[in-house]
Symmetry: C2
Subunit: 661 residues, 2 copies
């Protein structure tokens, strides 16, 4: 029985068409659909027991799944694209993520052709398993401060990799703790007694015969992380080197080399090339944000339509909680955000192609902008997604706190995205630096490009007044864009003005950094708002599809405007009256989302397996399934619990003295 | 070695005196100090392994600790106050929390003298163990919608307790799943064929001889909840009744009774009496918020002083991350919030005494205000605390994601406080209702009392202008109060105006509920701000103590003002210029907090055991301890992991076909 059938009938658009928009293309939709069902229908990928397993069992089970998936990929002769979708839908962090997502790209990006030939062919067949060992116990954000050393020994033509201090222990790399045979290790290159800063080296860690760590290597897992199940399927590791020797040709030498004699040479390939990889990785993270948020939103939306509380009249059914405006005002902006992040991710794919082509043509002019933009979007989308998942969990009331809701694990497994690949605050400070540089160069003839191009119109933006006079005026993309551009520009200019009061710019930047982060956030929100609007300028086929997306785009921007109205008002971009009109329009948009809500989350096309949530079941049949699942908890193995005779009974019987305590 | 010694020397106030302020009195300080050390020094209460244990082991261990603690309490003949501190410092959710915190108070509040005599004497000795069974699978927030029935059978003078539907299964009660012998069960009272709404009944669930469920009772645990360790030490349970009979005198009959003949009588004791218990429970929750937040802040503050990243000059040490203004602007408001919540909690204790005395004198005039105020403060402080704990975790970068940081478990165990004892949004809507009622009665001669008394000055507040002209003006309590009062009053009045446009008030309330929640939040923030200011009007002894608290009070209010500047600007309470002056003053206050930060968290007087965090260690010796703790993870039991032969080796050796998968 489809408990949500009535909801589905309300939709004012064609769900099948929206699925294609969400996936990005017909091809992508068909691929996702096929692979997600393949995974969902294979009992080997069952994950409903994950949160109940103790660490060792959990981890062993992940090894099984990863190996089984690899077998499947080989047997079915899946393409690279298909294989990565298999890993995606298996939905369990594993060493393979780092092997494919960091080790292979690092070699591709930083290895010479020869190195690529050798190491990639081994990696592609998984004859070796690699990880990415950068962070140390004492250094994460400050990569230049890493302490591990790679000292060239000209006598033997080798590097000696060493961990000179406790804090130089590698700490955090995924896949390192128990599985990887190799790692790309970042270490300070020392040759001829001189320190040439941090470079990457391929180091074998474990024997390919018996998996024991090689001499001089101490390696293990760093222990339990946030949540049950979640990221504990991953063996984030600790690693110490005691003068481990590797051949010279295992330094990744695409951008700099050490010769047989120990001479350090910077190659003519510019370091900027490495930025390409960074844009790629961050694009993936933004995409992942939209997937994680959409999962949470799908669960909370379906359950909000199933859950009824209060408002029963004459013994009729109670009100679905999705009909409460407070519920809508918390949930629908997240639904809109999921779509917004999806489209900005799509745009980042375009940006990556663009950057790659420019790099090949040795055009480095757009790199600073692309770098700031991806850093900012990574920070913005991961923070909003982590917070959004928790909000979705709370939207499910008490039942959201149960692991069977899927939401606790989703949060715990997602939230480190705010920290890895750049701490979100540190990244926003980078954006702020770029903004201050842009402002300082205005009028110097250097034209701002890409997502910062609006700064060209700075004079206009500093003094413009919003033309909004009635709620519906806030539906005009031009009015929304103008307000967001003016806010971002004015916040940047205000910071720049305050900065100029300091004689020491670095000191000023440090003192004002909290304000600078706010300006950077305003800039990044503008990017997301504008990319959503740009998406709607494209041709989007499907009955009612574009109209729905227009509503969501409005919800996304007006929700942000309301949430940050302090910025808009303080900078005088809009008046209190206009802020209140925006809020009124926002409320009207929520009512438009309401009948389409279930179909908008159906459009993500997620299987029940992928969602992993009883509250988010497609059929809405929540209660009997919650009830049944409860009995599977290990505590229910026996009616009278372990510990009754030792503890509970002596307590009740007032016989504590002889009790074994 | 004390790595934080240099930090401690910087303090500009007397830490020992601040400890007394934090504890509330010399007596309370000495008691806390003694009991916390007693618990910390007893290896039976070790908790560092908690996040690694599988459910059954974890739970059994909790039974052991709870029983051991009870033994200790008896052997040492501890007072009730001391005993509750023991449970507090053991710091592990257990059935005893519900027994002492809900079962006993429910009987006290709702039982007749006779019932109290019988059941409390059993309970005080723990000859029976009780829980509080209200929530059902289908009903939480809407208590009046509960489905469990208690039908009076005049033939046998018994009630028949029954679960007529699946959704009427009791679901969530702590201590129910595996331990409780008894429960206070909320059920619809039916007598003479008529439904008299929800009442409480004492029901025995399990045999006192062998702990088996009594006939007609199905009971079990509802399964894993958010996080490892955390609330999984608690047996939240499911319970179904199949026509279970209990004697008539097990209905809690203080406010209403059923006679031998089955006649329902509302006693002359007014239902409002029950509000007293609610004020008590919520006061405790607000206190707990300050404890949980202060723990998180203590960990993040100490670690922020230990952690160094970037900014090394000439090979000197890097910058302590606590010196970054972004770190301060995230951390110090939380430090200030911990103190703010502590003081508002203290004030709530006074309120509880006041309410109790008034109830005894049959003065019910302040009850609606007290009820709204405690509902709002519960909502405000628990939301801020849950978010604050997560922020503290993120402030610790990657290492905050490790369970050994203590923060993941602290978050997971704390966050349901946003949901239980009233969903935080539902509570804010109650506050909003009270606000709208107050506004509508202004001018009717009915004088607003207590925390809403500022509404008496509504005419002034609607048109006042802040007199702030320079940053320091924001240090004047009167200027701060005036701004917060004006903002709260104007937001309420604006909502009331919008409401009046609706012909149907209920419909209007529903439509505007998101705005109403914002107005309620503004009102509740004002309460916390004003109680902090009132606290500072008292005599506070100790060198520099009061000065520090004044700084924190300023941080708390100006941080809120900055965060919600949209409200202040939209309502015209302050100008953009004044908002910017507030921000400037806030920045100056952060610099004043900085040298005192470590000592301000030392003043909480938490033992390392209670904190349960390597990052938050008193001695700051973080890295060697993180490193050592890692090796205790079960995955490190063997160098080569379980699963190597079955999965990793076949993968590496390309021998997947014969692998057992
Ligand atoms: C689940 C997970 C997986 C990971 N996987 C890998 C992996 O595979 N390989 C790998 O090498 N690493 C990995 N990491 C490590 C990760 O990259 C780092 O944790 C991350 O870069 C953050 O650095 P940190 O931990 O040193 O934080 P810190 O820099 O110590 O941050 C602590 C606080 O200081 C603040 N701060 C730091 N610098 C500044 C500044 N200049 N200005 C203002 N504030 C500042 C931060 O905002 C933060 O609040 C992983 C981490 C996690 C949690
Ligand atoms: C860890 C934990 C321990 C607990 N312990 C106990 C216990 O010992 N005994 C016991 O009896 N219960 C217990 N509970 C249950 C708890 O009291 C309920 O979960 C709580 O009251 C919330 O109710 P709900 O789950 O029905 O949420 P719901 O009411 O279903 O909330 C779902 C969503 O609907 C929204 N909503 C609901 N009504 C309205 C409305 N009128 N207007 C606007 N929005 C609305 C909420 O804001 C929320 O977003 C516990 C719960 C937890 C998580």
């Amino acid at each position: 029985m489809d408990y949500l059938g009535a909801e589905r009938k309300k939709a004012e658009f064609d769900v099948e068409d929206m699925k294609i928009v969400w996936a990005g293309s017909i091809h992508a939709h068909q691929l996702s659909d096929r692979i997600s069902k393949l995974v969902a229908n294979d009992p080997a990928f069952r994950k409903d027991d994950r949160t109940m397993l103790a660490r060792k069992e959990l981890f062993k089970n992940t090894l099984r799944k990863a190996t089984y998936a690899w077998k499947l990929i080989n047997e079915l002769q899946l393409s690279e694209e298909e294989a990565s979708k298999v890993r995606f839908y298996v939905d369990e962090p594993a060493f393979t993520d780092l092997h494919w997502g960091m080790f292979v790209p690092a070699i591709k990006g930083q290895g010479t052709d020869e190195q690529q030939k050798k190491w990639l062919s081994l990696s592609y067949k998984m004859k070796i398993i690699g990880c990415y060992a950068q962070t140390e116990l004492g250094h994460g954000s400050n990569v230049q401060g890493l302490e591990t050393t790679a000292t060239f020994d000209p006598k033997t033509d080798e590097f000696i990799i060493d961990s000179p201090t406790l804090t130089s222990s590698k700490w955090w790399p995924g896949g390192l703790g128990k599985v990887s045979t190799h790692a790309v290790v970042y270490a300070r290159l020392i040759t001829g007694g001189q320190d040439y800063g941090v470079h990457g080296f391929i180091v074998q860690l474990r024997s390919l015969e018996d998996h024991n760590p090689l001499p001089g290597i101490t390696v293990g897992d760093i222990g339990m992380k946030f949540g049950n199940g979640a990221y504990n399927t991953m063996d984030n590791g600790v690693l110490r080197f005691d003068h481990v020797r590797i051949p010279r040709d295992q330094m990744l030498m695409r951008v700099s080399q050490v010769t047989r004699e120990g001479k350090f040479i910077e190659s003519d390939v510019p370091r900027q090339l490495l930025y390409g990889t960074m844009v790629y990785v961050r694009k993936t993270i933004v995409m992942d944000a939209s997937y994680a948020l959409s999962k949470a939103v799908c669960i909370a939306t379906r359950y909000s339509a199933v859950r009824r509380q209060f408002g029963s009249q004459n013994g009729g059914p109670e009100t679905q909680v999705i009909d409460y405006k407070t519920q809508q005002s918390r949930l629908f902006p997240l639904l809109a955000s999921a779509y917004a992040f999806r489209f900005v991710g799509e745009w980042l794919s375009w940006l990556y192609t663009d950057v790659t082509q420019r790099l090949q043509a040795k055009d480095y002019s757009t790199l600073p902008e692309a770098h700031a933009c991806t850093a900012g979007l990574k920070s913005l989308t991961t923070t909003a997604t982590a917070d959004g998942i928790e909000e979705c969990r709370k939207l499910c009331g008490g039942h959201g706190y149960l692991c069977t809701s899927g939401l606790p694990e989703l949060y715990a497994v997602y939230v480190p995205a705010c920290t890895y690949e750049g701490d979100n605050i540190v990244l926003m400070l980078q954006v702020a630096r770029f903004l201050m540089k842009t402002v300082s160069q205005l009028g110097s003839g250097k034209q701002p490009v890409g997502t910062i191009a609006y700064m060209k119109r700075i004079e206009h933006l500093m003094q413009s007044h919003s033309d909004v006079q009635k709620p519906q005026d806030w539906l005009k993309p031009s009015s929304v864009l103008e307000a967001f551009e003016a806010r971002a520009a004015r916040m940047s200019v205000a910071c720049a003005k305050n900065l100029s009061k300091f004689s020491n710019q670095e000191e000023g930047f440090a003192q004002l950094s909290a304000d600078l982060v706010e300006a950077a956030v305003a800039h990044c929100q503008l990017i997301v708002v504008s990319k959503f609007i740009e998406k709607l300028q494209q041709d989007i086929p499907g009955n009612g599809v574009k109209q729905q997306l227009e509503v969501l785009s409005g919800v996304y921007s007006l929700f942000l405007l309301h949430k940050h109205q302090g910025d808009f008002l303080a900078t005088g971009c809009i008046t209190p009256k206009q802020a209140s009109l925006a809020n009124e329009q926002l409320r009207a948009l929520y009512s438009k989302v309401r009948p389409n809500a279930i179909s908008l989350v159906d459009s993500f096309n997620y299987t029940d397996h992928f969602l992993g949530s009883i509250l988010g079941r497609y059929d809405g049949n929540v209660y009997p399934n919650l009830y049944e699942a409860a009995w599977k908890d290990p505590l229910n193995d026996s009616v009278v619990p372990d510990g009754y005779h030792d503890y509970i009974r002596p307590l009740l019987k007032q016989q504590l003295v002889p009790a074994k305590l």
